[in-house]
Structure formats: C-alpha cells, structure tokens
Amino acid sequence: MASLNLLPLAIDLVLALTLLWLAWRALSSPDLFRAVVLFIALGLVLGLVWVRLDAVDIALAEIALGAGVTGALLLAALAKLQSAEAETADASTEQEGDWQGCSQALAEPDAKSKPTLTASATMDATGSAMPIALRILLALLLLVPLAGLGWVVWQLWLPAPGLTDLVAARLEASGVAHPVTAVLLNFRGYDTLLELAVLLLALLGVWSLSSAPHLGDEEQEPALAALSRLLAPLMILVAAYLVWVGAHAPGGAFQAGSVLGAAGVLLRLSGWRVPPRATGWPLRLVLVLGVVVFACMGLVVMAFGQPLLGYPPGWAKPALLAIELAATLSIGAILAALFIGGRP
C-alpha cells in the first residue's frame, strides 16, 4: 500500500527536478538556439505539472501560450537576430548546432537591418556581464530569498480559506458551468477585459517599433503548404470547439484564440496573405473586437440598472458567449500578428 502512495509523489519529485534542471540548462546554455528549445521543453513539462495539479485549463494555456506561442516568438526573434548577424559577415559566436538553421530557414534575411557596429556585435559569447567572483557572491546572496521563500511556503502548508466554496455557491448564477471560466469571465471579468487590453497593447507596441512585415516571404515548402491547407480548417474547428466546451469543461477563449492564432501563422507560412484591401481598418476592427464587445457589453448593462459588467439574470449566458467569440477572434488575430511581426 505504502509503495502505491509513494509512486505519485516520486513522479512529482522527478517532474519538479526536471523543471529545475531544464530551467537551469535553458538559462545557462551557451548556445541560444538550444536555450530556446530547452525553454520550450520547460513549458511542456510545466504543462504536465499543471495536469498533475488538476489545473487542466492552465495546462492547455501553458502549452498553447507559454510553450507554443512564446516559443514560436522566441524562435522567430532568434532567427531574425541571427540572420542579421550573419549579414554583418562576422564569425558567428553562437555554436551552430545541427538544428539551428531550422529557425533560420523560417525567416528571410532581415533586409532592413542596417550594417552595424561589428566588433562589439559578436562580443556576446556566453554572455555574462559579471566576473565569476561576483556571480558566486550573488548566488550565495540569493540563497537568502530562496530559503526565506521556501520557509514561507512551508508555513502556507496549512490549508487556508480559499474561495472554492463561494465560487461553487455562485456558479449557478454565473452563466457557465465551469468554475474557472466563471471566475475568468464573470466574477473577475474586469481583469480579463484589461488582460485583453494588455494583449492588444503589446501588438500596438510591436507595431510602433517596426514597419515592415518580416516573416513568411520566403519560398514555400510544398509539404508544409499541403499540411497547412489540411490543418487550417481543422484548427478553426478545434478553436470553435474549445470556446464551446469552455462553458462546462476546461477550455475557453484564450486557449481557442491561441489555436486560431497558430492556424493564422501556418497559413501565413504556407504563403497565404491577408488581402491588401482587408489589411486596413477591417483587420484593425478584428483586432479590437474582443475588447470592444467586452467593454460595450459591460457598459450597456449599466443602462438597465445593473452594475458595471453585471449581467442581468438570465442574460449572463448569451452575453458571455458573445464576449468569448469576439475575444477568441481577436486573440487569434493578435497572436498571429505578433508572430508575423511587422504591421501590414
């Protein structure tokens, strides 16, 4: 019996140690490409950890956003940085791994980057600014917060009053049957609205920094194009399913949005373009749709004597569905646009 109880704990211990090891390797690897790949692996293992912790929603989001989108963004950025570096005709400081060029193959050489200061451009190497003694000192100093935080977590061992019961008591009135979705869209909907605004803000920031579209203008691989044509409609279907299922099971707008975004990226990579006449205000409208629908819905109810973002009884369900659909579209479009980089 005891061994049966110990087995899950042993698995969890291995998972936790894997997490720490991957994080350490990702942060200390001298090869940037390897670091990014290890970081993506970290995200995937983290996804497993979330499943172990009964947080399936987070697991989905972690794998789609934390590992998937972040990983894709990192790889794309790395490819652009390194192709710019190759252009300055310096000896590359990064060790060329077998797989490294894969990321380069994804991106065209960044023609816009200026010829640059070169002597210093390659100085990075394994890239620490600090002498080793200082680093050791810092590591020793960091043992204090490590021990302190560990001690505090140990203190938190005793179960504290959470909000589980309160959420369960009000779930009926929230318009959805899945507690996490209820918290996200109804109980703490104000946070989620602003979070959508943060995502949009990131795109505004990215577009304010660069003007040229960067990615996906290279020659296409026929196999990739074929797969994209096969997968894109499927992914749209999966996104729709995730929105729908979010009402009563793990899933929802953010997970669905990232699937939609991935579909957009695939289509882009296989040569599809947003038609030029749609890149102006129609595209911008899609990008802001989620925030607009959410915000307007929240304000309109005030005219009916409800509080801000407080849906009248019986109206919560359709309202939340409309918000989720609009948010999914916008999240998908924003994520794809973030990956592509330059504004149209």
């Binding site: 077998d98 060029g101 691989e221 196999a223 990739l224 997968l231």
Partner: protein
Amino acid sequence: MLISLSAFFLVAGAVFFLAGTLGLLRFPDVYTRLHALTKADNLGLGLMVLGLMLQAESLAAAGKLLFIWLLLLAASATAGQLVASWAQGKGIAPWRR
C-alpha cells in the same frame, strides 16, 4: 483481459519510444536521426493510442485518440520533410559507412 491487452500495447509503445530516443541520440547524421524520430516514435505512439483506446470510456473518446495519432502522423511527416530538405539545401551529405 482487455486491461492486460491494453497494458501490453502501452508497454510495446514505450519500447518503440525508447528505441526511437536511442536512435536520436546514437545515429550519426540528421537524416538517419529523422528516421528514428518519425518511424519509431510514430509507431510507438500508435501502439500507445491503441492501448488507450481499449480503455476509452466511449467510442467518441476512442475516436479522438485515433484522430490525435493521425494528426501527429501528418505533422511529423511534414516536419521530417522540412528538416531533411533544409539539410539538403545546406549541403549536408547523407552519412555513408
């Protein structure tokens, strides 16, 4: 009976995964490593899916599992093709004894 059959497939799948991983680590060049990844791992996953389908609660769940496998087949084939064609473009010659 069903359980033991399922367990058999799961273990067999794990063996193929192990073999694929071993190949990834030990094979000499990118093309042979692709073989290890795509062939052995796809088969391993297929066996695991088969084992899990036997335990599935409903036909729909079993169908979903099968679907995942099919998707993975398409994706790994494409990925393998992309990597190989990149390597070829880079002028990496296939390994010869």
